[in-house]
C-alpha cells in the first residue's frame, strides 16, 4: 500500500515533467535553428525573469489568464468548451469601463458595481451560446468562436460610434476615465511595507487578490457543493446525470452563462488597475492563451494558478531575449509545445492509471 502511494506521487509528477522536458527540447531546437545558444537564452530569461520588477509583471500578466482560465474550466468540468472567453471578456471590459465611468459611488461599491456589469454582459453574451446549444442543438464550440468575432466587431463599433470619450482630443479612441472610486487600488503600497521597493513601470494589480479569492471559490464550489457535483456529473456522464435528477439542459445553460460571467471579469485587471478605461490598446489574445492555461492546469484551481504564473513568467522573461538578439516570440513556441505535450502526457497517464488499477483489482480479487 505504501509503495502504491509513493508511485502515485511519482505518477502525478510524471506527466508535467515529461511535458516540460519535451517543450525544452522543442524550444531549444527552435533557438538552435537561428544559430543561437539555448543555454544562453535560458540563463538570460532566468536572470531577467527573476528580478522583482519582472516578477511583478508576471503576476500582472498571469492575473487575467487565471480568471479567464477559471471561466473555461467551469465549462470543461461540465463537458463543454467555451472558446468564446476572448469575446466575453472584451465585451465585459468595454461595458464595465463605459458604464463605470458614468457614475460615482463609494469606493468599494463602485468597483463591485463595475464587476457586476462586466459579469452580466459576459454572462449574457455566453448565454447566447447556451441558448443555441440547449434549444437549437448548435455546438457551443462553433457558436462561441463566431461570438468571438462578433464581439470583436461589436466592441470596435461601440467604441468608435457610441462609447468614445469625445471630451479629450486624443488620437487614441478611448472611453472616459473611470473615477478614482472605481479604480482597483494597486498592491504596491502593501509591498512597500513588506520592504519591496518600487520598480520602473511597476505596480501589481490589486485584482491579483481577487483572482486568488476567485480560485478558492471555484475550488470549493466545484469540489465541495451539490451544484459542483452536478456540474461535474453532467460532464462525466450526461445521461447518468440526467437519470440521477440533474436537469442537464439547465446545467448546460448555467455552465455556459456562469463561465461567461467569470470571463467578463477577466478584462477588468487591466481596466480597473491600469488603463482605467477601454481603449484601442486593450490586450488581445488573453481568452485564447487562457485555454492553454486551463488545459495545462487540468482545470484545477491550483494547477491553473501554477500554469498561469508559468505562462506569465515565460512571457515576461522572454522580453530579455531581444538583448541577445533572439526573437522574444520564442515564448510562444514554449507555451505551445508545453500545451501539446502536456495534453498528450496526461492522456497517456490516464490510460496507464486505468491499467494499473485493473492490476490492483486483480490482486485484490485473487487475494
Amino acid at each position: 500500500m505504501k509503495g502504491f502511494k509513493l508511485s502515485g506521487v511519482l505518477l502525478a509528477l510524471a506527466a508535467p515533467v515529461a511535458a516540460a522536458v519535451f517543450s525544452i527540447v522543442i524550444s531549444s531546437l527552435a533557438v538552435l535553428a537561428t544559430n543561437k545558444s539555448p543555454i544562453e537564452a535560458y540563463t538570460t530569461m532566468w536572470e531577467f525573469g527573476t528580478t522583482s520588477g519582472s516578477l511583478m509583471q508576471m503576476f500582472n500578466v498571469a492575473t487575467p489568464y487565471y480568471i479567464a482560465a477559471i471561466a473555461i474550466a467551469i465549462t470543461f468540468r461540465a463537458g463543454l468548451f467555451n472558446i468564446g472567453v476572448e469575446g466575453q471578456l472584451r465585451l465585459g471590459a468595454i461595458f464595465g469601463a463605459y458604464l463605470g465611468a458614468m457614475f460615482v459611488l463609494p469606493p468599494v461599491v463602485h468597483i463591485i458595481a463595475i464587476m457586476v456589469i462586466a459579469m452580466t454582459i459576459g454572462g449574457l453574451w455566453a448565454a447566447i451560446a447556451g441558448y443555441l446549444k440547449v434549444k437549437r442543438g448548435v455546438s457551443e464550440v462553433i457558436s462561441t468562436i463566431m461570438l468571438n468575432s462578433l464581439a470583436g466587431g461589436l466592441s470596435s463599433y461601440l467604441l468608435a460610434n457610441h462609447f468614445m470619450d469625445r471630451t479629450t482630443a486624443s488620437n487614441n479612441m478611448t472611453t472616459k476615465e473611470i473615477p478614482a472610486s472605481g479604480q482597483f487600488p494597486d498592491l504596491m503600497p502593501i509591498l512597500n511595507t513588506l520592504g519591496i521597493a518600487d520598480q520602473p513601470g511597476g505596480g501589481v494589480y490589486g485584482m491579483l487578490l481577487f483572482a486568488v479569492v476567485l480560485g478558492v471559490i471555484f475550488w470549493f464550489v466545484v469540489n465541495r457543493t451539490r451544484f459542483g457535483f452536478e456540474l461535474r456529473a453532467t460532464g462525466a456522464n450526461p445521461i447518468a446525470a440526467r437519470v440521477s435528477g440533474v436537469n442537464s439542459k439547465r446545467m448546460t445553460f448555467i455552465a455556459l452563462a456562469l463561465s461567461g460571467a467569470v470571463a467578463g471579469l477577466a478584462g477588468l485587471p487591466e481596466v480597473l488597475g491600469d488603463s482605467h478605461s477601454f481603449n484601442m490598446g486593450f490586450r488581445t489574445g488573453v481568452g485564447f492563451t487562457a485555454i492553454a492555461v486551463a488545459l495545462l492546469g487540468r482545470n484545477s484551481a491550483v494547477g491553473m494558478a501554477i500554469s498561469a504564473l508559468l505562462f506569465g513568467f515565460l512571457e515576461v522573461s522572454s522580453r530579455s531575449l531581444e538583448l541577445i538578439d533572439i526573437a522574444p516570440e520564442t515564448y510562444v513556441i514554449m507555451q505551445g509545445s508545453i500545451l501539446l505535450s502536456s495534453v498528450i502526457a496526461y492522456e497517456v497517464l490516464r490510460r496507464y492509471k486505468i491499467t494499473l488499477q485493473s492490476k490492483e483489482l486483480a490482486k485484490a480479487v485473487s487475494a
Binding site: 437549437r136 448548435v138 463566431m146 501539446l340 492522456e347
Partner: protein, 411 residues
C-alpha cells in the same frame, strides 16, 4: 441525386429572382453584379477547401477544429515559399505545411487519444505562434519587409468559359456573351447573366481545381473502396476493425487529407485571393469552413453551398456595404414567408414573434442609410450563427465522430 441538383438550381434561381426585385427597389446594384459573384466565388474557395478538409477528417471520425491552424500554416508557407519559388511551388508548400499541422493533430488524437477539440485548439494556438516566431526571424534576417507580411508572390493565370465568359484558348480570345447580357440591366435576365459570368469568367486555375475537388471528393468517398473504409472508421470503427479494416490508417489518411486541403485553402488566400501572406489573413475561415461542413450536413455538395453562402456574405460586405443594408430587406422577406408558414400550421404566437422581428428589421432598414463598417464585417459570422441555429437539428454527423478510438475497444 439528379433531382437534388435540380432542386438546388430551382432554389438558386428563385433566390436570384428575389434579389433582382430587391435590386430594382433599393438600387443596390452590387447584390447581383458580376464583381460580387466573382468575389463571392473567390472568397468561397478557401472556405470550401477548409470544409472539404473537415469532411475527410470527420468522415473518418476525427473532429478537426484545427483546420484554422492548418490554414494558417498553409497561408504562411504559401506566401513564404511562393515568394521565392513561384506560386505553384508555393501552393505545394501550403499543402505540405497544412499536412504537417494535421500530422500533429493525428498523432495526438489517433495515437494518443487526446480529446479532439482540445488537440485542435492546441494546434490553432501553436500554428499562430509558430508562424509569428519564424516570420519575426525572417524579418530580422532581412528576407521579409515586415514581421507580419511576406514578399509578393507572382500571380497565377486565369481563364473563363469559351463563348459565354470570354475565355482565352490557344491565343483565341472568345466573345463574352454573358457580360454583354449583364450590362443590359434587364430585370432578372441580366442578373442571372451577371451571376453566371462572375462564376465562370476570369477564373484562377486554382479556383477551377478547387471546384473540381468537390465532385472528386464525392467520387473518392462514395465510389472507391478507400472511401468506404474511411467512412466506416467514422461510422463504426469497431465493426470496421472486425472486418480487417485498418482503422488507424484510415483515420490518419482522413486527417492528413484534411490538413492538405486546409493548407491549400490557406495557400489560396495568400497566393490567389491576395498576392502575399499577411498575419491574420485566415481570420477564422477555418472555423467558418467547419460551419460550412455542418451546414452541408457532412456532404461535399452541401459544403460547397455553405461556403458559397458565407462567401457571398463576405463578398458583399467587402465590395459594397450599402448592399448589406439591402440584404436586410431579404431577411424581412424570408421572415414574412416564415410567418405565413407558421400561420398555416396554426402557430400564432410564433408567427407574431417572427412578425415582430420582421417589422423591427424593416424599421431598421428604413431608418439607417448605411450600416457602420464594423457591423458590416460581422455579416459572415452572424450568417454562420443564424444558419447553424436553423440547420443544426437536422444534422447527421458520422456516428463515431469525435469519439477517441482504441484498437480492441480498450479505454
Amino acid at each position: 441525386m439528379k433531382s437534388k441538383l435540380f432542386k438546388t438550381l430551382q432554389y438558386t434561381t428563385l433566390l436570384i429572382f428575389v434579389l433582382s426585385i430587391i435590386r430594382i427597389f433599393t438600387g443596390a446594384s452590387d447584390l447581383t453584379s458580376v464583381g460580387t459573384a466573382s468575389a463571392a466565388l473567390l472568397l468561397s474557395v478557401p472556405i470550401a477547401l477548409a470544409g472539404l478538409g473537415g469532411l475527410f477528417s470527420e468522415r473518418a471520425g476525427v473532429v478537426n477544429i484545427g483546420l484554422e491552424g492548418m490554414m494558417i500554416m498553409g497561408a504562411w508557407a504559401g506566401g513564404m515559399i511562393g515568394a521565392q519559388h513561384g506560386p505553384w511551388i508555393g501552393l505545394m508548400a501550403a499543402i505540405i505545411f497544412g499536412s504537417v499541422g494535421a500530422l500533429i493533430h493525428a498523432i495526438a488524437t489517433i495515437t494518443f487519444g487526446v480529446d479532439h477539440v482540445v488537440s485542435g485548439v492546441a494546434i490553432n494556438i501553436i500554428a499562430a505562434g509558430l508562424v509569428r516566431y519564424v516570420s519575426t526571424i525572417l524579418y530580422k534576417s532581412g528576407t521579409w519587409l515586415g514581421p507580419s507580411q511576406s514578399p509578393d508572390v507572382a500571380s497565377i493565370g486565369t481563364n473563363g468559359l469559351p463563348v459565354l465568359s470570354g475565355g482565352t484558348y490557344f491565343g483565341w480570345k472568345s466573345p463574352d456573351l454573358l457580360s454583354v447580357l449583364a450590362e443590359k440591366r434587364w430585370f432578372f435576365i441580366s442578373d442571372v447573366a451577371a451571376v453566371l459570368r462572375g462564376l465562370t469568367g476570369d477564373l484562377s486555375y486554382v479556383t477551377m481545381i478547387a471546384v473540381a475537388l468537390v465532385p472528386l471528393s464525392v467520387f473518392i468517398l462514395w465510389k472507391t473502396a478507400f472511401g468506404l473504409r474511411l467512412r466506416s472508421a467514422g461510422e463504426a470503427p469497431i465493426a470496421a476493425e472486425s472486418l480487417g479494416v485498418n482503422v488507424y490508417a484510415m483515420k490518419y489518411a482522413g486527417v492528413l487529407i484534411s490538413g492538405g486541403l486546409a493548407g491549400l485553402g490557406g495557400g489560396f488566400l495568400a497566393i490567389v485571393a491576395a498576392n502575399h501572406y499577411q498575419e491574420n489573413q485566415v481570420a477564422g475561415r477555418g472555423y467558418i469552413g467547419l460551419a460550412a461542413l455542418l451546414f452541408g450536413n457532412y456532404r461535399p455538395g452541401g459544403v460547397l453551398m455553405g461556403a458559397g453562402l458565407f462567401g457571398y456574405a463576405d463578398a458583399l460586405q467587402l465590395r459594397d456595404s450599402a448592399s448589406i443594408r439591402a440584404l436586410i430587406l431579404l431577411i424581412v422577406l424570408i421572415l414574412l414567408f416564415l410567418v405565413t408558414q407558421d400561420l398555416r400550421k396554426g402557430k400564432v404566437l410564433k408567427a407574431a414573434l417572427t412578425l415582430a422581428i420582421a417589422s423591427l428589421s424593416l424599421w431598421y432598414f428604413l431608418a439607417v442609410d448605411q450600416l457602420p463598417g464594423q457591423l458590416v464585417t460581422m455579416t459572415p459570422y452572424l450568417t454562420t450563427l443564424l444558419v447553424l441555429a436553423v440547420a443544426s437539428q437536422r444534422l447527421r454527423m458520422p456516428a463515431a465522430d469525435g469519439i477517441p478510438y482504441r484498437r480492441g475497444g480498450m479505454k
